[in-house]
Symmetry: none
Subunit: 224 residues, 2 copies
DNA sequence: TGCTAACTGTCAGTTTTTTGGAAGCTTTCT
DNA sequence: AGAAAGCTTCCAAAAAACTGACAGTTAGCA
């Protein structure tokens, strides 16, 4: 069952949306303000979030920023509801990271279309639970990494960093890109930090450490 | 340069769209009916197609069906323009395979947003982005250059220089131009520097080194 | 709840690699 | 042959990356 979190303060609208979501086979969870939405999203990450940008208390864009910045919720697609005239570019583009939007007043039908479309896009690539690259083995289900059969203890950051590189072996990823995907959408930090963690990761991986190649001036890549 | 094919019979609207696409940095190609659109799409596949569903002669949905059914064009994302009340579900959903839609009357801004969004989504996935010129192979994703199958280690400047030449084989590029594009717009430096790097590049490329021709008095070019 | 160990991000010193340009040599053209 | 353009070698300076230390934070455990 796919859960959709609806963050919407107008009760009538929220009910209407929930009703239709249910009709479409989703499991809607409705909350009335941004804070509640953040909590719910954190404690029980849904498959998709519908976020009204005009919320009381906390700016909707602020909620969006936090959602995309937090580790647990960064990957959850967000469709925003917005009134005409707001700065959609900023919200949907890279800056805030919404995945789609619907302009008020909208037809419920249109909203459902967008919801389905976004879920379709994001659900397409189910990740394999096991990977093997040379001496390196990653089991995403067990969260287990081995080198030459020996288990390697990685911290969460190291693990995510490794996953990012290993998922697309051969592909060069810039420090900025890694910061975005590993550290979160709008993390602001030193790109040197990536270096540090890379060093730690390499040393922990031992023999497999030099499977991670430095591409000077561009970033890092996993050897194929 | 990203090409967008616009299939639209209302000339005013077509021009408006083309104007804005150009402003956004795309290369618009406009045709007025479905048949011409199919031909153009087949002969010169664009990065995205904007299709008006209300076309004379051939039903827009029919054009869409053919586009999505043909091998060469199936992967090209399509954004449809549609009047309210048409059966959007059918068009956008799995049945016909449009990637997004905009309902007439629409704001140009919204259209551009959708165009950018669709291109972003589709650009993320598999772009083989490989080039081959004789014994030379360049993989931009992996940042890997090979000559006769052997990997060649290039520095960042050498790589950028090679890319500049290889992207437009046959075209002569002046030292000034190369300085601008490789070293940056407001770099101030000696054009002799280009010589130095070219020498290094040629020597590293080994057998493929003399694919880069000197055009005395003008600059350099990549052999076609 | 308080204590401890582990994890993180930042920084600064060190090492490695790249880079730009100078100078002399070679080729090409007239 | 002389001049102009291009090629090559070399080296100091700059850039990029690596690494270890440190302090703040978090998470686990008693």
């Amino acid at each position: 069952m796919q859960t959709v979190l609806v963050i919407e303060d107008e009760q009538d609208l929220a009910e209407l949306i929930a009703f239709h979501l249910e009709k479409e086979g989703f499991h809607p969870v409705v909350v009335a303000d941004g804070l509640a939405g953040l909590n719910e999203a954190r404690n029980n990450p849904p498959q998709l979030i519908l976020l009204d940008l005009m919320l009381p208390g906390m700016m909707g864009t602020e909620v969006l920023r936090i959602l995309k910045g937090a580790e647990k919720t960064a990957a959850v697609p967000v469709v925003v509801l917005t009134a005409k005239g707001e700065e959609i570019d900023r919200v949907v583009g890279f800056e805030l990271g919404a995945d789609d939007y619907v302009v008020k007043p909208f037809s419920v039908r249109e909203l459902m279309l967008r919801v389905r479309a976004v879920l379709r896009r994001n659900g397409e690539a189910p990740k394999p639970s096991q990977m093997a690259l040379g001496p390196l083995t990653i089991d995403t289900e067990q969260h287990l990494v081995t080198v030459d059969g020996e288990e390697v203890q990685l911290t969460s950051t190291e693990y995510k960093l490794l996953m990012n590189l290993a998922e697309r072996p051969g592909r060069v990823q810039s420090r900025e890109h890694l910061l975005q995907t590993v550290w979160g959408y709008n993390y602001i930090g030193d790109t040197r930090t990536v270096d540090t963690h890379l060093t730690r990761l390499r040393s922990k991986l031992g023999a497999a450490g030099d499977m991670i190649k430095t591409v000077r001036g561009f970033g890092y890549k996993m050897e194929q």
